[in-house]
């Protein structure tokens, strides 16, 4: 018995030692093994071409197939410059999940060479995990608003691949039913509210305006243009002070509470955007919705009779907006392939890559040549977005210098209470201001 135990113990030790010293085995072709590997995170519309273009089952979604074509062509542009490299795409999701995975990999020293994302680049740049991107003459070719979201301390750290702002989508069918002129969308807040009330009066579960009221970032995004129209915002221009409690924000929230009252109660209380769009806008049950350029394709898919107009402006206010859906790419400081990674990232800002993005996705391109020529000449709903992007001073949401998640949660509480309850908005703003300041002071 003791001999059996000894043999067993020896085996356990042997296996442990071997397992500890073993290296993972990667089956790869001889050609791929000879090349250097550049790891990059991708997110829709950029996808791993190898997955969707080689699908022999022919069950690939047409949109995925188109996105794979786009990505393959972008990669081809890179391979022309660096034939000695092979790109290894990884999909780490989006938003918080992506952010967390990137940070964990940075901490473990296993980060990718190139990362994608939307809202965390200034924060990552401040924490010293990104390298600045020298764009040279390309800097002037990219729409300044889209580039601003990837800047920190006057330097560019991320290059946009596609972008967006918010405009007003309106349902022409419901306009007609409510006795409104479908060719005359509202241009002012007052007119918008009046039209919304008329559409809501149709009943049968129809909302005047489908407003996002929940504890998510999407709702904050949609509030930003209206706060900014009347001089309000989340932070001071340098991003160092909280400015929740401002006369502009009070005015914006007061109007938006009235607008929310034209919506079927609870329509958008779940943070899953697809669900409340499906129950409201896509179902022909909302007169208006505020959304980005990606909504054009969705509305067409649902065969809506819709129009797109610039966001209505407040009395005494000015046009304003927020950069949204702005997918960017940046290079990690820990990358061992920095030069190649920087070249890859720069490709996304070029006219050729931007044109490809517009062709394959129909979304808002970032290169000014494509915006001013291709998009404006084509006209239609997308040109409203291209025109809107020219409004000076458009930026993204702020990157709070400390405790960003807690400060956002404070703002989420504010937005829900301000839009969905009858509590005095001035008090809510004051409470949110002091709570957020306390978080910032930690």
């Amino acid at each position: 018995m003791s001999r059996v135990l000894r043999i067993l113990a020896s085996l356990v030790v042997l296996v442990s030692v071997l397992a500890g010293s073993a290296r993972p085995f990667h089956a790869s072709t001889a050609a791929a093994a000879a090349k250097k590997v550049l790891v990059m995170t991708l997110a829709n519309p950029y996808v791993d071409p190898a997955i969707y273009l080689n699908d022999k089952t022919k069950k690939t979604d047409p949109a995925d197939y188109s996105n794979a074509q786009l990505t393959k062509r972008i990669f081809a542009m890179f391979y022309k410059m660096h034939p000695d490299y092979v790109i290894k795409p990884v999909n780490w999701g989006w938003s918080d999940a992506l952010r967390q995975k990137i940070l964990l990999n940075v901490a473990a020293g296993t980060g990718p060479d190139v990362i994608t994302g939307e809202d965390f680049f200034p924060e990552f740049a401040r924490d010293g995990i990104l390298v600045p991107v020298e764009l040279g003459p390309l800097q002037k070719e990219i729409a300044p608003a889209t580039l601003s979201v990837g800047m920190y301390d006057g330097k560019t750290y991320a290059v946009p691949a596609e972008s967006g702002i918010f405009e007003l989508f309106y349902n022409k069918t419901l306009f007609k039913q409510a006795g409104l002129d479908p060719n005359k969308p509202p241009a002012t807040w007052d007119q918008w509210l009046a039209d919304s009330k008329k559409i809501a009066a149709l009943g049968h579960g129809i909302s005047g305006t489908a407003t996002e009221v929940n504890t998510g970032l999407g709702a904050s995004f949609r509030l930003a243009p209206f706060m900014r129209q009347v001089g309000g915002d989340f932070t001071s221009k340098d991003g160092m002070k909280i400015t929740f409690n401002s006369p502009g924000n009070l005015k914006a929230f007061t109007f938006l509470r009235q607008l929310t009252a034209t919506q079927v109660p609870g329509l958008s209380s779940a943070t899953d955007e697809g669900k409340w769009f499906a129950a409201g806008w896509w179902a022909n049950k909302a007169g208006f919705v505020v959304d980005g350029p990606w909504e054009i394709a969705s509305s067409q898919q649902f065969k809506l009779n819709f129009g797109v107009a610039p966001l209505p402006v407040a009395p005494g206010g000015h046009p304003a907006n927020v950069v949204v859906g702005n997918q960017m790419f940046a290079v990690m400081k820990a990358s061992k392939n920095q030069q190649a990674a920087l070249d890859l990232v720069r490709i996304f800002g070029t006219e050729a890559a931007s044109r490809l993005n517009y062709k394959y996705t129909g979304r808002l391109p970032i290169n000014l040549n494509v915006l001013n020529n291709d998009v404006m000449k084509a006209g239609g709903p997308i040109s409203v977005f291209a025109e809107g992007l020219k409004v000076p001073g458009i930026t993204g949401l702020p990157a709070y210098p400390a405790n960003p998640a807690n400060i956002w949660d404070i703002f989420y509480n504010l937005q829900v209470a301000a839009l969905a309850t009858n509590q005095p908005i001035a008090n809510l703003l004051a409470t949110a201001q002091s709570n957020a300041e306390a978080q910032l002071a930690q």
Binding site: A9, V13, T271, P404
Partner: protein, 316 residues
């Protein structure tokens, strides 16, 4: 006549003969067996040290620093992180939420699982199927059950509001109600945890000596008396285990919060583990998250010791 000494039993006794080859050798039997033992437990101990003790120690050290967790150098701030926990209602409330959400889950799942275990212990046809049905939620991941619950709670097309409308009642805005989202987190977690606790109780029930019931019946005890004087006392060791493991599980609730509410609405469902995750990975405050972990670990330890000493003593 033998040379041996006559013992008390009348049998001659001899000095024990040395084992063959034992004298003068290093690898005695005792040493060989000792080495075998160490070789067997060694890998597990190394694993536990690397994956358990060292990280635990690191968390304690990290609780005294300010650090993003992924860049820059940690700055030693002594008890600053603990002071933040004490000073800010936002952090203090997290512990209160955990206590009442975790406590509610624990009490509900203990009561329900005990009741179901009693029913499923009865000799009824198809009880294997019933046991499987009750245990099923335990093997389905929270990711799936939370998605299911999300669909139920959808404000416009969700099952619960559809039922309310069908019954002529107004729909409820679940996601924006602190009361209702807390309630649903408790319901989901209880429903998911009942199966595991039920199995523990069932095992305990099946381990009770049937003669105790027979003796009770002879003494004239009715069903309620048998439950009170035989079943419950016999189940006490099992109950201590169920309470301690259930308490630790309920206090560490995370997935339903992350997947259903993200701590909202109005921070009402922000529990300790979710707050640790948020501070570490979303606020990049590893120091504060570590301090929270240390306080939470001590609280759990205190609860466990209390239960073992107070409830466990009675068991003895």
């Amino acid at each position: 006549m033998s040379n041996g000494v006559i013992g008390q039993t009348g049998q001659p006794t001899f000095p024990a003969a040395p084992l063959v080859g034992q004298q003068g050798r290093f690898w005695t039997r005792a040493r060989r067996e000792g080495l075998t033992g160490w070789l067997l437990v060694g890998p597990v101990m190394v694993y536990y040290a690397v994956m358990g003790l060292i990280p635990m120690g690191a968390v304690v050290v990290l609780s005294f620093v300010r650090w993003t967790g992924f860049s820059g150098s940690p700055e030693w701030v002594w008890l600053h992180n603990y002071k933040l926990l004490w000073d800010f209602p936002l952090y203090r409330d997290v512990f209160v939420h955990t206590l009442y959400i975790g406590g509610s889950i624990l009490l509900a799942s203990l009561a329900i699982s005990f009741f179901i275990a009693l029913l499923l212990n009865a000799r009824i046809r198809g009880r294997g199927i019933y046991r499987t049905i009750w245990y099923l939620p335990a093997v389905v991941s929270f990711a799936i059950t939370s998605q299911m619950w999300n669909a139920f709670l959808d404000p416009t097309n969700g099952l619960f509001n559809t039922i309310l409308r069908w019954a002529g009642q107004p729909a409820i805005n679940w996601q924006l109600s602190a009361f209702w989202m807390t309630f649903w987190i408790i319901v989901l977690s209880t429903w998911k945890g009942v199966g595991g606790t039920m199995i523990i109780f069932l095992a305990g029930l099946q381990g009770i000596d049937p003669t105790l019931y027979e003796a009770g019946k002879i003494d004239g005890a009715n069903r309620l008396a048998l439950l009170r004087y035989v079943t419950l006392p016999s189940l006490r060791p099992v109950t201590v285990f169920a309470v301690i493991s259930g308490m630790l599980g309920a206090m560490q609730i995370f997935e339903p919060v992350q997947l259903l509410t993200r701590g909202g609405p109005f921070d009402s469902t922000t529990v300790v583990v979710y707050s640790i995750y948020k501070n570490a990975f979303l606020n990049s405050s590893f120091g504060l998250a570590s301090a929270m972990s240390v306080v939470f670990a001590l609280l759990c330890l205190a609860f466990t010791v209390f239960q073992l000493t107070v409830v466990g003593r009675r068991t003895d």
